[in-house]
Amino acid sequence: MKNGPLFFLGLLAAVAISWAGIVLGSHAQLGELPPYFDQAEGQIYPRRPGGIASRGQLVYADLGCAACHTQQVRRPDFGSDKARGWGDRQSVARDYIHQWRPQLGASRVGPDLANVGARLAKTETGAAGLHQLLYQGSSTHPSYSFLYEEEALVGERSAAALNLSGANAPVPGYQIVPTERAQTLVAYLLSLKTTYDFPESVPVAAPTKTEETKK
């Protein structure tokens, strides 16, 4: 290692080769991934999120929600993601192509949110329930009341006002309304759906496994 320039080139090569291999390699494979055009429905998937939902992702990122929530459903035979009802199929790269900064996350203190929009649509409370959780928290979820405002009730009650009861109910004559940030955040979460089956996302692993065991 007497040769300084050669040593320097070695260092540069170590970084450059791994960067080219991992980053450029996967970029070459996925960088141009197009949305899928469904001929029968005459639509492209994944659907491009609306402007409000896109702004909601900024809120999701800046609050650091990804510290406790993942947004990646693993395939049915890898972990219990499907059994938990987090998604019927695994997440694939195409799900994220419209996202400004995919929030895959690395910790599951809370549930996976890749398909939370579809899950919420099935519940009775839907968006209102989500607002309530964000405002008052629960034994497992912090309360982000700074995303909400208490305002005096003038005239009619706002349609967006939260239906709260018990200790969290506002003083009579006041109402709790979501700020713009809360509205966009919830719109973003409602937009998260992995219900469309892309050709590459149809779960194949589970059936083949059972066939093998039959033999």
Partner: protein, 475 residues
């Protein structure tokens, strides 16, 4: 030609050290200050894990933001400042000339820490990038890069102007860390912030950066310190030293490929995690050689050596566990649990920080020209930090083990899982309290030592004639 490490005792006292005293003390002081601050963020974040309502209504301290601040202050504040101080000092000594461009080091250090402070305010007010270990807002990152380059100039000059033709392993690792960080940092910024790649390629690039930060920056900094200090404290020539270069190049060329293992089962091409798993297994060569070379640390005496010994054990353990946990059937269980945090803390605290502590204990009396102010504080710090790290890693690992089993069981509700792991999470909080106390001791001891220098104590100069007394060994 590769020179054999010099015999212990020589180069204990050099005229080289005093020239860089100011900048190096500044770097170490900043590092220790950030370590205490990082511990405070870690404490807040750990409380929030078992008591979610703690500080929840304060938007500056949502769990995500607190954790990002904890991580940023730890990596860029503590490890960055301390690692730079150690590598500059080693390059200066092994280069055989007094460090040059020390004013640049001072200026760079000030800007580096100003940038970090601005970045923290940015994270608290909602500008974090949401990429792990690269959380500092996009607008301070160019400043950090510039400040880093300003500090590193001195090390590069020391390397370029070295007196001897041959080089030592400590020098390779130090130079590698100095050069590689700006490349990693700027390449990650380019593809994640300035011209972001699309979709999940971002996650792959972020994984590459995160792994690179560990294998190409933090690990080389720690190894530079170990390769320099172990022969001195053990009084032995490093065994199997001829293999050291193989260990070095394995780390550099293979290490950066291991990042993809965290994405196993994720929405990325299958080759990305597979390459990571293979690379993780190949890294066994690197860890074996580090073990072969540095096993003489068992013969070392002194406070510094005790830290480095434990740090190296943790380092080898991390290598082994990284390999085991990268396999798919293990990853299926431990992915997304606190086991991953346990392994990360074992690496960052158990390995990197312990080695850095050892290096600081060894380096400080030599650059300050005075022995450590308090031997009692030194031993107290050592005991407390060992207990703190064991509780921290143990608590996280216990929480992770319970969580791993429960997450695979679909009937276990997430709220119940969190309730069940409350006890280990409380242990983690307790560990952070101990660690803050321990690191405060070190910080105060450092300040007292630096201040006693200013008193111009004459007695101390005599110590230079008895090198073994310098370290005020607490054994």
């Amino acid at each position: 030609m590769i020179n054999s490490p010099t015999h212990a005792g020589s180069a204990e006292v050099t005229p080289i050290d005093p020239t860089a005293r100011g900048p190096l003390l500044l770097l170490v002081g900043m590092a220790l200050g950030w370590l205490v601050i990082s511990g405070t963020f870690a404490l807040i974040a750990s409380i929030q894990l078992h008591t979610p309502q703690f500080l929840a209504d304060c938007s500056w301290f949502t769990f995500g933001r607190t954790d990002a601040m904890r991580e940023s202050t730890f990596i860029y504040g503590w490890a960055g400042n301390a690692g730079l101080a150690i590598s500059l000092w080693i390059l200066g000594r092994l280069g055989g000339n007094p460090l040059r461009a020390t004013n640049w080091v001072t200026v760079g250090t000030l800007f580096w820490n100003l940038g970090l402070t601005a970045g923290l305010v940015g994270i608290a007010t909602g500008d974090m990038t949401s990429f792990s270990m690269l959380q500092l807002p996009a607008y301070v990152q160019p400043l950090m890069l510039f400040a880093y380059a300003t500090i590193a100039i001195s090390g590069v000059l020391a390397w370029g102007g070295r007196r001897s033709d041959g080089t030592f392993a400590a020098q390779w690792y130090a130079v590698a860390a100095l050069f590689v960080f700006p490349w990693l940092f700027s390449a990650a910024q380019a593809v994640l912030l300035w011209m972001p790649v699309r979709g999940t390629v971002q996650a792959i690039a972020a994984g590459w950066f995160m792994q690179g930060l560990w294998t190409l920056w933090l690990a080389p900094l720690a190894l530079a310190g170990s390769y320099y200090i172990v022969p001195k404290t053990s009084g032995r020539v490093l065994p199997s030293y001829d293999f050291a270069s193989l260990g070095f190049w394995t780390l550099l060329f293979v290490g950066a490929w291991t990042g993809g293992r965290h994405l196993v089962g994720g929405p990325v091409p299958a080759w990305v995690p597979t390459v990571g798993v293979v690379a993780c297994s190949l890294m066994i060569f690197h860890y074996s050689i580090v073990f072969l070379n540095l096993r003489v640390v068992t013969a070392s005496v002194g406070n510094a050596a005790q830290f480095i010994r434990l740090g190296l054990i943790a380092y080898l353990l991390v290598g082994l566990l990284d390999m085991i946990t990268s396999f798919r059937f293990v990853a299926e269980q431990m992915q997304f649990t606190f086991l991953a945090s346990a392994l990360q803390q074992l690496g960052l605290y158990g390995a990197i920080s312990m080695i850095f502590f050892g290096c600081i204990y060894f380096m400080m009396p030599r650059i300050a020209g005075v022995p450590w102010a308090s031997v009692a504080m030194m031993s107290a710090h050592r005991m407390a930090v060992i207990i703190g790290i064991l509780l921290l890693v143990g608590g996280l690992a216990a929480a992770g083990m319970m969580q791993a089993g429960d997450l695979l069981n679909p009937s276990a509700n997430l709220g119940d899982i969190l309730a069940r792991i409350r006890l280990p999470l409380l242990v983690v909080t307790f560990a952070h309290i101990i660690l803050i106390g321990a690191n405060l001791l070190l910080f105060v001891n450092f300040l007292k030592t630096a201040a006693s220098r200013a008193d111009g104590d004459v007695r101390v100069r005599n110590l230079f004639r008895q090198p073994s007394a310098i370290e005020a060994s607490a054994t």
